[in-house]
Symmetry: C2
Subunit: 323 residues, 2 copies
């Protein structure tokens, strides 16, 4: 590994200059900008080798995932990402190529969602890790986790189960048909942050969260914050996973609720705003699935074959083993 100051010179060569930045990366080691008055959202999320670098995943994808995970949190609140910083802990023997792949992941991940990577800090670590920091600005309304009311309609911006399937394949050797494998691995390696969806939803949503820890935890957090419950009436299982479930190879409840890292937005909307929200998503060409409703009683529930059951705890949580 080269000395830190040479690494910073490498970074300077590949990153786009943020027109709002008042300092120069590699000269000053902070970011400064003039902000207009308004509501801003700040988020930090880290990725670490042990828990986030999946088998076969490139370092560029690993770094990009750190950006996505931060931007996804901003989107769930109704914020548009403005810029991204990172502190990276690197091993002493990392190659220049690997280092540049990491930086490219941060740079391209930020640009992909309309934001800029503006630098950060480099340090030595036995564990490869990137702590990202994202700043966004609220466009319409700040949406919290706590506002769901009984009767509200519950939506998500995408299917679930594909990353769960990828984890089964990559970490537990589950055999998959080639086309499903390709699609599942892409979902796990290159997740997408739902920025436009989050901002569009924020005009109507009573509560919102991103599903990085799995659908169960997303609904449980919304339930805990609001004091009400969430009843899933339609399992939003990805069609490719559904097919495997229909053959008895996959438990559809497990795959839908207890996966994680889908980075979809899960939100509630007052019943009388649900139609106009759906109309706006359709007009903008954005994907949306209605999955259920908010109920009085605290908890996460599933209506299956006419019967209502409480979904058991599960999904991704640090310091507990997966699923």
């Amino acid at each position: 590994m080269r000395p830190e100051r040479e690494l910073i010179d490498l970074i300077r060569e590949i990153i786009s200059k943020d027109p709002e930045e008042l300092l120069e990366l590699g000269r000053d080691d902070a970011s400064a900008r003039k902000l207009a008055g308004g509501i801003y959202v700040f988020n930090t999320d880290m990725v670490a080798e042990t828990t986030d670098l999946l088998p076969g995943m490139s370092l560029k994808q690993f770094a990009r995932k750190c950006v996505v995970s931060n931007f996804s949190d901003l989107a769930a609140k109704g914020a548009r990402p403005l810029f991204f910083m990172a502190s990276a802990g690197l091993s002493r023997d990392m190659s220049d190529d690997d280092f540049l792949s990491l930086i490219e992941g941060l740079e391209e991940g930020s640009r992909e969602f309309g934001a800029y990577f503006v630098g950060g800090d480099l340090g030595e670590s036995r564990e490869l890790m990137i702590a990202g920091f994202a700043v966004g600005r609220i466009e319409k309304r700040l949406v919290k986790r706590s506002g769901a009311r009984p009767g509200d309609v519950v939506f998500t911006t995408g299917w679930f189960g594909l990353t769960w399937l990828a984890f089964q394949h990559l970490l537990r050797g589950m055999d998959l048909p080639a086309d499903v494998r390709v699609e599942a691995i892409k979902a796990a390696y290159e997740p997408v942050a739902r920025i436009r969806e989050g901002i569009t939803a924020s005009a109507y949503a009573s509560s919102s969260i991103d599903s990085s820890d799995g659908l169960y935890w997303s609904l449980e957090e919304l339930s805990k914050a609001s004091g009400h419950g969430f009843l899933v009436e339609r399992i939003p299982l990805h069609p490719a996973v559904e097919l495997l479930a229909s053959k008895g190879r996959v438990d559809p409840v497990e795959a839908t609720f207890h996966g994680g890292e889908e980075y979809e937005i899960v939100f509630s909307v007052p019943r009388d705003r649900a139609d106009i929200l759906q109309e706006e998503f359709t007009k903008k060409g954005l994907f949306l699935i209605k999955i259920g409703k908010v109920v009085e009683e605290r908890g996460v529930f599933l209506e299956l074959n006419g019967e209502i059951e409480e979904v058991e705890e599960g999904g991704w949580e640090h310091f507990k083993s997966r699923g």
Copy 2:
């Protein structure tokens, strides 16, 4: 280690609520606030066990140091810290007490400098690390590293050499008189961010940096950014270290220039503003040492016994060994 959600409940019990915060820590996992128009500074700096947890240092001091290192960067730019976030990589077998010590360090470190700790992210890591993220607001003027002009007067907000001495003692077994040892270790374990000094200086400074990587690197960075050089005419060696140097036990140039983590602010001021700056520091009871001046030729120079020499490269840099 408890599951992440229980740890967050522990955090909620000990942190002060930022009156500006629009979200609730542990319910929403981001920070949101209404900002008035103005210039804001954003900084990220990490601490890691291998490089920053000194022998005998408590986890609370380790965490507090992460706050100081971030706030020091803000202060050097002329910004007052508003709030602090952190992503922490923790080992699976960390005890509750150790975890709470870390959080107390972040909380008390933030409060000590008038800011708030508003949360972040927890993850698993083989290396204990904390990536801090600090946001501050410019009070008077944003000061960059690049503005020094020949003839400008160069100041620092404190002495150098005490942390260098602590490193020699803690890492290399150098024997020290008891009173010096206590003072040196305190400087290394509990550094201070020079917030008031940085903001006061910002009204006059042509360039500014914090000295976290040692005085040599601070001056070299200011030199590189401005294209001019820095001539040190008075070595700002701490009196206790000076005493050891006078006995031939310490190289005063090495101790002054090639230590690090003093977190003093090093800055240049146009000659015709130097008097008023000194007057203002004195009025506010803030410490200041005039150490030299800016010269035409790029580099870091030292005038010693009437002769001018170029100071050789050195100080703390990641991916190079110390000293």
